[in-house]
């Protein structure tokens, strides 16, 4: 009995001891648990999460550039880089034969050769990329070829080389080639070094707009990158139950232009033909909607293909219509006559004696073509573009009046339509005008402006005297298709409605009875002004010329204007004409936009004083 008595407490003691031991262990565990989970001085939990967490940037899709009808001018396309991890490549491996369905041993060299043939690349080069140089360290990222099409990628993958990786990339594409190239600009890929929060430096390729609209609209086009944060296990596979936070990328907006691809093409065809005909340095054309200032075409005879900008001379990677300021020549008579009429110092029928050469203010002004002395109307002087008559009219205005008016029309200030490198033109302060410059500024010499300036001035004069700021960007289109129209161009009245009507009739006289009879278009009433300016050649001598024409149709209620400018034409100046260029472009604009032919007859002013209107040149 005694043994059982002693035994029982021993069991109890043992049990108690075990219990205490277990409890102690439990308490230790609890303390440790609280220590790690609750207090966590080493931030272990965070470190663990950080180690598992991967952040992936979701690249937004760059917006397209569209023409006024939604045709794609610039877009992003999918391309692939083929790369290989040289460290993984084995000399032989097995794979299943597609025909016999049996596993066969394959020599890597055979597959690499087949791969090179499929890609149309040099076998040696591909082999070098896959296996690396003899003796050199194996690379984890070796490029076989870059930017191949999805079809080429499929072909390469069909070879069945197991170590081949295709990495998707995005490439900018301009499906219309040189059409509107200088407006669109191009992209540039640069290596950019970034430093993250931990001070780790990393370089990555960043593509940004480098020129033209790609540059100026970069913010709207590029969008905002998104982010995907997830946890992954040691094997690189995402842990499905772990939290996943995803901030979607906001794709870039499409930029919709006012450009009409068809008219742009027609204008380009015409100016390129003109450049060829007179071996000119360049020819450009501006097509604009008179009532809104919307630009339908900015055509350059030397046009860059944004897919390969390097092939074009740097000067022509931007549009000459906004970057090249030239002395306008006789189209520069438009401001002089418009202001003189608006101020009421002359009327279209005011009479002037117009000699071939005129001594005025200590300077002699000549006309380009020798002619007898005529008794002409002011409208006649404008139509026949006589400098000697023009300076008589311009002299009725003060220099300041003319200077202020030219400034108001925009000469000497940049026209911002979203194209970089816009040229302001040069217009010296009237106080600094030299004795001869006082007179030459009346007929378009001694100051410079771009073709777009000329278009904008004609627009103001033709549009009832109200100038509307030129506009190239019509709208921004969200990825969901919502269109945000840009604000209408700022307007300002530059001359009275009555002066505008008179100027239009005078411009019609130019085409019916003046210098520009070649610019007539059957069925429509055309008005405009031609200009042949003396131009400083690239050698600095004034031995070159600029020939231009600016015209509107229909003259009664102007809808469209076309300005054609030809720089440095060669050959006999008497043959230089941009008339057919103007009519070709204008006809395509009229027919594309279904402008009804005029039902009224032309209503020109009398050119000469008296009954006889038929005098030779």
């Amino acid at each position: 009995m005694a043994t059982t008595h002693i035994k029982a407490p021993r069991t109890v003691r043992r049990m108690r001891f075990a219990l205490v031991l277990v409890l102690l262990l439990l308490v230790t565990l609890m303390v440790r648990l609280v220590w790690i989970q609750g207090i966590d001085p080493a931030n272990a939990a965070k470190a663990a999460v950080d180690a598992r967490t991967t952040t992936q940037v979701i690249e937004p899709v760059r917006g397209d550039i569209l023409d006024s009808e939604g045709q794609v001018l610039a877009t992003s396309i999918v391309r692939y880089d083929l790369v290989v991890d040289q460290r993984q490549v084995k000399a032989t491996y097995t794979k299943r034969d597609p025909v016999t369905k049996k596993r066969v041993s394959v020599d890597a060299v055979d597959d690499v050769n087949a791969l090179a043939d499929a890609l149309g690349l040099d076998r040696e080069a591909v082999s070098l990329a896959v296996f690396g140089k003899e003796g050199a360290a194996k690379k984890g990222y070796s490029v076989i070829t870059k930017s191949i099409t999805p079809e080429a990628k499929d072909k390469a993958e069909d070879v069945g080389f197991p170590y081949l990786q295709a990495i998707q990339t995005s490439q900018r594409s301009y499906p219309n080639g040189t059409l509107a190239g200088p407006l669109l600009g191009f992209m540039q890929t640069q290596l950019k070094e970034t430093t993250d929060a931990n001070g780790n430096k990393s370089t990555e390729e960043v593509s940004e707009g480098a020129e033209g609209l790609e540059l100026s609209q970069n913010d709207a086009l590029s969008g905002t990158p998104g982010e995907r944060v997830y946890e992954k296990g040691a094997d690189g596979v995402r842990i499905p139950s772990a939290p996943l936070t995803e901030t979607a990328a906001v794709d870039g907006q499409d930029v919709k232009l006012t450009i009409d691809s068809d008219i742009q093409w027609r204008a380009m065809e015409a100016v390129m033909a003109k450049e060829k005909q007179f071996k000119a340095a360049w020819v450009n054309a501006v097509v604009m909607e008179v009532k809104t200032g919307r630009i339908l075409a900015l055509a350059d005879s030397k046009s860059m293909d944004p897919n390969d900008p390097g092939a074009t001379e740097a000067k022509y990677r931007t549009s000459t219509t906004v970057t090249q300021a030239i002395e306008p020549g006789s189209t520069g008579k438009i401001p002089t006559f418009a202001l003189a009429l608006d101020k009421g110092v002359v009327s279209p029928t005011s009479e002037f004696t117009v000699p071939n050469a005129l001594k005025i203010g200590g300077e002699t002004i000549n006309d380009s073509l020798k002619h007898q002395t005529f008794d002409m109307t002011a409208a006649g002087v404008f139509a026949r573009s006589y400098n000697t008559g023009t300076v008589q009219i311009g002299s009725k205005l003060t220099d300041q009046e003319r200077y202020d008016f030219m400034r108001k029309l925009g000469i000497g200030s940049k026209i911002d339509i979203g194209l970089n490198g816009a040229n302001a033109g040069l217009l010296a302060d009237y106080k600094d005008w030299e004795r001869r410059q006082r007179l030459t500024t009346m007929f378009g010499q001694g100051y410079t402006q771009t073709a777009l300036h000329t278009a904008s001035i004609l627009q103001a004069v033709a549009n009832d005297g109200v100038q509307v700021a030129p506009k190239l960007i019509d709208a921004y289109v969200d990825p969901d298709g919502t269109e945000h129209k840009t604000a209408d161009g700022a307007t300002q009245r530059v001359i009275s409605s009555k002066t505008s009507a008179t100027m239009r009739r005078m411009m019609e006289t130019v085409v019916t009875d003046g210098t520009s009879t070649k610019m007539q278009i059957a069925g429509y009433r055309v008005g405009g002004k031609s200009g042949t300016a003396q131009a400083q050649g690239s050698d600095g001598k004034f031995d070159q010329h600029t020939s231009s024409f600016a015209g509107v149709v229909p003259i009664e209620d102007p809808q469209y204007l076309v300005v054609v400018t030809m720089q440095y034409p060669q050959g006999d100046w008497r043959t230089w004409s941009v008339g057919d260029t103007f009519t070709t472009i204008m006809k395509s604009v009229l027919s594309k936009n279904s402008v009804a032919p005029d039902s009224t007859e032309p209503n020109p002013f009398k050119v000469f004083v008296g009954e006889n209107q038929k005098y030779g040149w």
Binding site: D81, G135, K139, Y141, D235, G236, M268, A522, T583, P597
Partner: protein
């Protein structure tokens, strides 16, 4: 369940003597001590069965869930691949259409069909019933006639996607050749010790410094597995576009 009490009742007498005997040995506490453990032992089997069933049910549910999750994953992979294949086909067709509808190509096609720009249009005023402007046939229009005479068009026709890809490849080839030549020259100039300089050919980057290396673990794994399952052959294109598990990608 109604059978259980009956069963208990039937077993009870058989066990009773044994317990009674044990009870005799210890003395007084016989009746209560004997009955209780017997009752407990009899109820253990249903409890164990229940436990097994619960465990089986839990394991089964987890299994079913896992299977369905992985099945969905596979479905996801195949759908993603399908989506990518369709997007690729769509992209290719869009590229081709954009190229074909370029005005230069339209003009070329029109010219091939002997078309010329239209002449002067006539206009019928429906209100007044009059015709303004005399329509002229296209051939009679001076500009149109001139355009028809000029056989060649001035604006260069844009390259088709395939031609452009070929041009890009050619450029790369030239660049590669140029760097190879430069490397060879450099090697000649400074002896054989220029391994590192010659190693860095244009366009190739070290994995560590490249942003693209982030994609390495996933894709690297995919190709590693290909050793066993032969990528490229025996799979459709759709299947090739995805990985084993849809690791998040753009």
């Amino acid at each position: 369940m109604s059978a259980l009490p009956l069963e208990h009742a039937a077993i009870e007498p058989a066990v009773e003597p044994e317990r009674a005997h044990r009870g005799d040995k210890n003395g007084e506490r016989t009746p209560l001590a004997l009955v209780r453990p017997a009752a407990r032992r009899r109820r253990r089997w249903p409890f164990v069965l229940m436990c097994v069933l619960v465990v089986a049910a839990v394991v089964g549910t987890v299994l079913v869930l896992n299977v369905s999750v992985s099945r969905t994953q596979y479905e996801l992979v195949s759908l993603r691949s399908q989506q990518q294949a369709l997007a690729q086909a769509n992209g290719t067709l869009t590229e081709e259409i954009n190229n074909r509808r370029a005005p230069q190509n339209l003009a070329k096609q029109a010219q091939a069909e002997s078309m010329v720009p239209g002449g002067q249009p006539g206009v019928v005023d429906l209100g007044k019933g009059t015709v303004t402007a005399v329509a002229s046939p296209a051939a009679a229009d001076a500009d149109a006639a001139q355009a028809a005479k000029d056989d060649e068009l001035n604006v260069a026709v844009p390259l088709t996607p395939a031609e452009r890809a070929a041009a890009v490849a050619k450029k790369q080839e030239l660049a590669r050749a140029a760097t190879a030549e430069a490397n060879a020259k450099a090697a000649k100039a400074s002896g054989a010790s220029t391994e590192t300089a010659a190693d860095s050919t244009a366009g190739e980057k070290d994995a560590a410094s490249s942003g693209k290396a982030a994609a390495d673990p996933e894709t690297g794994k995919g190709t590693g597995a290909a050793d066993e399952s032969s990528s490229g052959i025996g799979f459709t294109k759709d299947q090739l576009n995805g990985g084993t598990i849809p690791a998040p990608s753009n």
